[in-house]
Symmetry: C2
Amino acid sequence: MKRLPLYLRLIRGLVHDGETYISSAVLAKELNLDPIVVRKDLAVTGVTGLPRLGFPAKAAELSILNFLGWNNTTDAILCGAGSLGRALLGYDGFKQHGLSIVAAFDVNPGVIGTMERGVHVLSMSEMEKIVPRMRVRLGIVTVPASAAQEVADRMVSSGIKGIWNFTPVKLSVPDDIVIQRVDLAASLAVLSHNLSLLDRH
Amino acid sequence: MKRLPLYLRLIRGLVHDGETYISSAVLAKELNLDPIVVRKDLAVTGVTGLPRLGFPAKAAELSILNFLGWNNTTDAILCGAGSLGRALLGYDGFKQHGLSIVAAFDVNPGVIGTMERGVHVLSMSEMEKIVPRMRVRLGIVTVPASAAQEVADRMVSSGIKGIWNFTPVKLSVPDDIVIQRVDLAASLAVLSHNLSLLDRH
Ligand SMILES: NC(=O)c1ccc[n+]([C@@H]2O[C@H](COP(=O)([O-])OP(=O)(O)OC[C@H]3O[C@@H](n4cnc5c(N)ncnc54)[C@H](O)[C@@H]3O)[C@@H](O)[C@H]2O)c1
Ligand SMILES: NC(=O)c1ccc[n+]([C@@H]2O[C@H](COP(=O)([O-])OP(=O)(O)OC[C@H]3O[C@@H](n4cnc5c(N)ncnc54)[C@H](O)[C@@H]3O)[C@@H](O)[C@H]2O)c1
């Protein structure tokens, strides 16, 4: 299926140009392939073409993504199975949004090899192998501040595209990576400040 | 010091009306007291009057609050020393904002009487006694959803004025109580959604 990522890039370009339908003949010509092969490949991903119109561009893009497993936005891995990390592993609330933490990684031999609320805690050295194999694209960082940037770098190089950062460190990552910072201390400080405002009125 | 709360209410009224200075004679007249007693009481709280002008109203209000310990916006108690609660007890980040968790409460005999990262975990039955004595006004709720409202009610009746709510329950409290909700599942869902948006562009 080495051809699918090529179709994906072409289709994204066409979608960007405002095309709503794509024809297998156009894709075949661009990539110097047989149109029948292109039509068969697209059919395997599940998208159906319409007579005389071709394949709906957006639907074709998403079914290729789906087929490749590249649109997995619901599984996450967690690095740093310490006190906060382990609390997050045990939280059922993520399931309500269809999200789940599928594996955790740590450097502490005392927690490596354990199961925490049904999730395996593995050695950090396994991460680069496991993440691409499980096609995980979300990473949760709950390591000490001193290890945060290094862990983020390793996540990105293994294919992570979105990082949920609990550490106080401002992570520097490439432009196409989405970062969401959680600052619990600032949240409590806001409450404390609102309380002192109450005193003044 | 039963008189101080009476001065406080009067001074707040005067501040509201735009007064910048208050005189002990005015306070004494309103409350039918000896002006010398009023001047002595105010001096004890640490505020100093200015000749011919009187006491700066705002400063007088805050030093009475201070003296009574009613402006404590930096100490917090926590109810529900489970996996998330215990992770929060161990977090140094709160100290940077001058905040600290001074006591924790739970109903599970297995954790009552233990120390978690330097904080005593006490029985929930002690809360109504401890909170007023330590003049704590911030409460952290990390109990299961089923116990959240009951715990919030007990916090409010023991003097808590600001609640940091980690549970999925929308707490109903009187108007003068400040509530701050932390929804970690929603935060991860936002990241996941941003990631899927990335796919579409
Ligand atoms: N505990 C909280 O409530 C809380 C709140 C907000 C933010 N944070 C932040 O979350 C992070 C974790 O806090 P904690 O209290 O759980 O700390 P912790 O020390 O209990 O846990 C940290 C874990 O990370 C592991 N680790 C260290 N270096 C690593 C590396 N290079 N790769 C993988 N794992 C590594 C450790 O072995 C440990 O298990 C900190 O950055 C902290 O600032 C914690
Ligand atoms: N674990 C997480 O990462 C996480 C994330 C977001 C929100 N939450 C929310 O935080 C809350 C706690 O989650 P958890 O994972 O720590 O659960 P937990 O079951 O590990 O801990 C709950 C604790 O509350 C205590 N408790 C129960 N009833 C009580 C009562 N009436 N008074 C005082 N204590 C009482 C229990 O004994 C237990 O120690 C839940 O409401 C959950 O939805 C948890």
